[in-house]
Amino acid sequence: MTVSIADNEYEVQNVFKRGSESQFKRALRRTLKTRSAQMGLALVLTFLFIGLFAPILWPYDARTDLDLRSRLQPPSKEHPFGTDDLGRDVLTRVIHGARVSLQVGVMVVAISLSIGTILGLIAGMLGGVLDSFIMRVMDVMLSFPYVLLAIALVAALGPGLRNAMIAIGIVYIPPYARLARSMALQIREEDFVLAARALGANQRRILFTHILPNGLSPLIVMATLSMGTAVLDAAALGFLGLGQQPPYPEWGKMLVDSMQFILSGSWWVMLFPGLAIMFTVLGFNLLGDGLRDALDPRLRL
């Protein structure tokens, strides 16, 4: 079968249309049809709102927060989530912990999405030795359980929020690379890419204007879902004392600090940071599942 120029042109135009905003709006509308995706979006928006506006709405300085007279008080009207062992208001610290988690989520996704996608696209587009090399390195990274590799990396780099974000970001690279590679392999054989090549487009143009926009939806789904897991893993590192350092509030660190006080029955110190993590991650998972169903029906579970 021969492909007419007209067909190609139509396809090429269609590519731009697919990457355009109206397409995205439509996908979003489709996503928000289900109750669970709406719930996910609501949770995510709440989290974003608190994370972004906490310092304006509820100013707080962790370095000076100390009130030993009111330590370990159960939830009351004054302290809805109670107080911790240093008399600090748990609600305030949970709110400001959201900032740390938001930062982690954004940074981790930025690192892994950008590096992973570029590596995967290069591997898929160029093939050959470079492809094998990149993908073998990814295989090696996937030979470690995520949490363990992240822990080992932070243990080496030294504890702290910045290193924790870098470690989790690195650990998350392989899935993006794999996805981007399979996407490139699949799309580069499509007629519209052949057409663009025939029209004289170079590799970079093909990569950025033809392949990337067409493979965007699985990447968006993956980014949403990995925001959630990044929050979880950051909390795990915080729990092990490898993340955000005191006195700044971080949900995982708050949990590990709470452990010695639950023996005396102070359950609130432990309950609320955990709930905050759970609802945040749940939000991203619900939204991610909804997006996946709307953007890429083939991936549906």
């Binding site: 669970s36 073998r136 390195v137 295989d139 090696v140 990274m141 030979s143 470690f144 359980p145 995520y146 949490v147 363990l148 590799l149 822990i151 080992a152 990396l153 243990a155 080496a156 780099l157 030294g158 959630g228 979880l232 909390a235 795990a236 729990f239 092990l240 004392g241 490898l242 995982g252 949990l255 590990v256 709470s258 452990m259 639950i262 023996l263 029955g265 359950w267 432990m270 309950l271 940071p273 955990g274 993590i277 759970m278 609802f279 991650v281 749940l282 998972n285 619900l286 599942d289 549906r300 579970l301």
Partner: protein, 396 residues
């Protein structure tokens, strides 16, 4: 089939090589002087130099990597006289050269001695001795206490294995029926509830769940102990290191009950994530098979619905789930760090946590290497068993 297994084995070699390289380079990621980092700010210069020497940090990197893998190796031709004296050589790992004769020493080596003694093997008429080297199973000594890592690992590893197996057992026996029922009653209330539960399961930090379980069932209700593997004063002979197995072998039922009670809460906490993932996978896999033609045929020929589900749908739907179970079992070893820390479970997870706090990198390195090896091995077994179970899958 044999060809497939062989090719799969060969494909594992570069991965293992990469894993070893990554674990090796780990110590070089440490900013500044790793020896100083391990000993802390107040270390004497002498001690830092000693640790640098011991870790071989003064050598060029490629030499260090080879040392890491095979240790410092020496080869020596042996005369027939020596061979006579080393008849035990093969079964005896540790040998010490004393004035030209080779004496086998099985017991009675103190820790500090051990580091100086070469481990030797006899290959025909050549005596091969090595000092260190992970390929020989020599993981070096810990920084603090100078204890051989391999010895401690052997003692702690069974605890993690027992916990992981218990967790995967709980996950499988709950997740498979849950996934099946969800798929059969698709979009019903029970399905929605199960899937929501599964989603919450993957959204929860397991260390938080662990603390919650400990608080509610350990402290408030007092049904289960809150930490450790065995109550103080409970005697148990160690055979395999898996307490439930040991107690069964020695018919020590009080210890069995005690060990089981200690196991319940940590294994439930550790089981949550695999449980949720397996249940979701089982459901989607069932749904896919339920829509296939042969299922309709089976129903059309009048088979009883349960026969259709069990014999035709479940058998085929289980295939992809097996892969997931394998991967989850591997990941559990990583997740165990958190659970073990909460429940003071004396496994490798708790150990690595303590090692991180104490900056004892040889331990962190060894545990990371071991867990990655197990992970690769499990994936290999899963792939091979998958090919056995599904003749359609072939290596390409």
């Amino acid at each position: 089939m044999t060809v497939y297994i062989l090719r799969r084995l060969v494909a594992t070699i570069p991965v293992l090589f990469g894993v070893s390289l990554l674990v090796f380079s780990f110590i070089h990621l440490i900013p500044g002087d790793p020896a100083l980092a391990m000993l802390g700010e107040h270390a004497t210069e002498e001690n830092v130099a000693r640790i640098r020497e011991r870790l071989g940090l003064n050598e060029p990197l490629p030499v260090q990597y080879v040392r890491f893998l095979v240790g410092k190796m020496t080869f020596e031709q042996i005369s027939p006289d020596d061979v006579y004296k080393t008849r035990l050589g093969k079964s005896c790992v540790k040998l010490k050269k004393l004035e030209g004769t080779i004496v086998c020493q099985r017991e009675g080596l103190s820790w500090t001695d051990k580091y100086d003694v070469n481990a030797c093997y006899r290959l025909s008429r050549v005596m091969v001795c090595h000092d260190g080297g992970v390929l020989w199973g020599d993981l070096g000594n810990s920084i603090h206490g100078n204890i051989p890592v391999a010895t401690e690992l052997k003692r702690r590893f069974p605890a993690t294995v027992e916990l992981s197996l218990a967790a995967i057992f709980i996950a499988v026996i709950i997740a498979i029926p849950a996934g099946v029922i969800s798929a059969i009653k698709r979009n019903s209330l029970i399905d929605t509830m199960t899937m929501m539960g599964a989603l919450i399961g993957v959204s929860m930090p397991i260390f938080w769940l662990a603390i919650l379980l400990m608080y509610v069932f350990g402290l408030v209700l007092g049904w289960f102990p809150t930490g450790g593997r065995l109550s103080v004063g409970m005697e148990l002979e160690h055979i395999t290191g898996l307490y439930l197995v040991d107690a069964t072998l020695t018919r020590n039922w009080p210890a069995f009950k005690d060990a089981l009670l200690h196991l319940v809460l940590p294994s439930i906490a550790l089981a949550t994530i695999p449980l949720a993932i397996i249940a979701r996978m089982m459901r989607s896999s069932m749904l896919e098979v339920l829509g296939l033609d042969y299922v309709r045929t089976a129903r059309a020929k009048g088979l009883n619905e349960w026969a259709v589900i069990i014999r035709h749908v479940m058998r085929n739907a289980l295939l992809p789930v097996i892969t997931i179970i394998g991967i989850q079992l591997g990941s559990l070893m990583g997740g165990a760090i958190l659970t073990e820390t909460v429940f003071a479970w004396p496994g490798i997870g708790k150990w690595v946590f303590d090692a991180i706090s104490g900056r004892d990198y040889p331990i962190v390195q060894s545990v990371t290497l071991l867990v990655a090896l197990i992970f690769v091995l499990i994936n290999l077994i899963v792939d091979i068993s998958y090919a056995f179970l599904n003749p359609k899958i072939r290596y390409d």
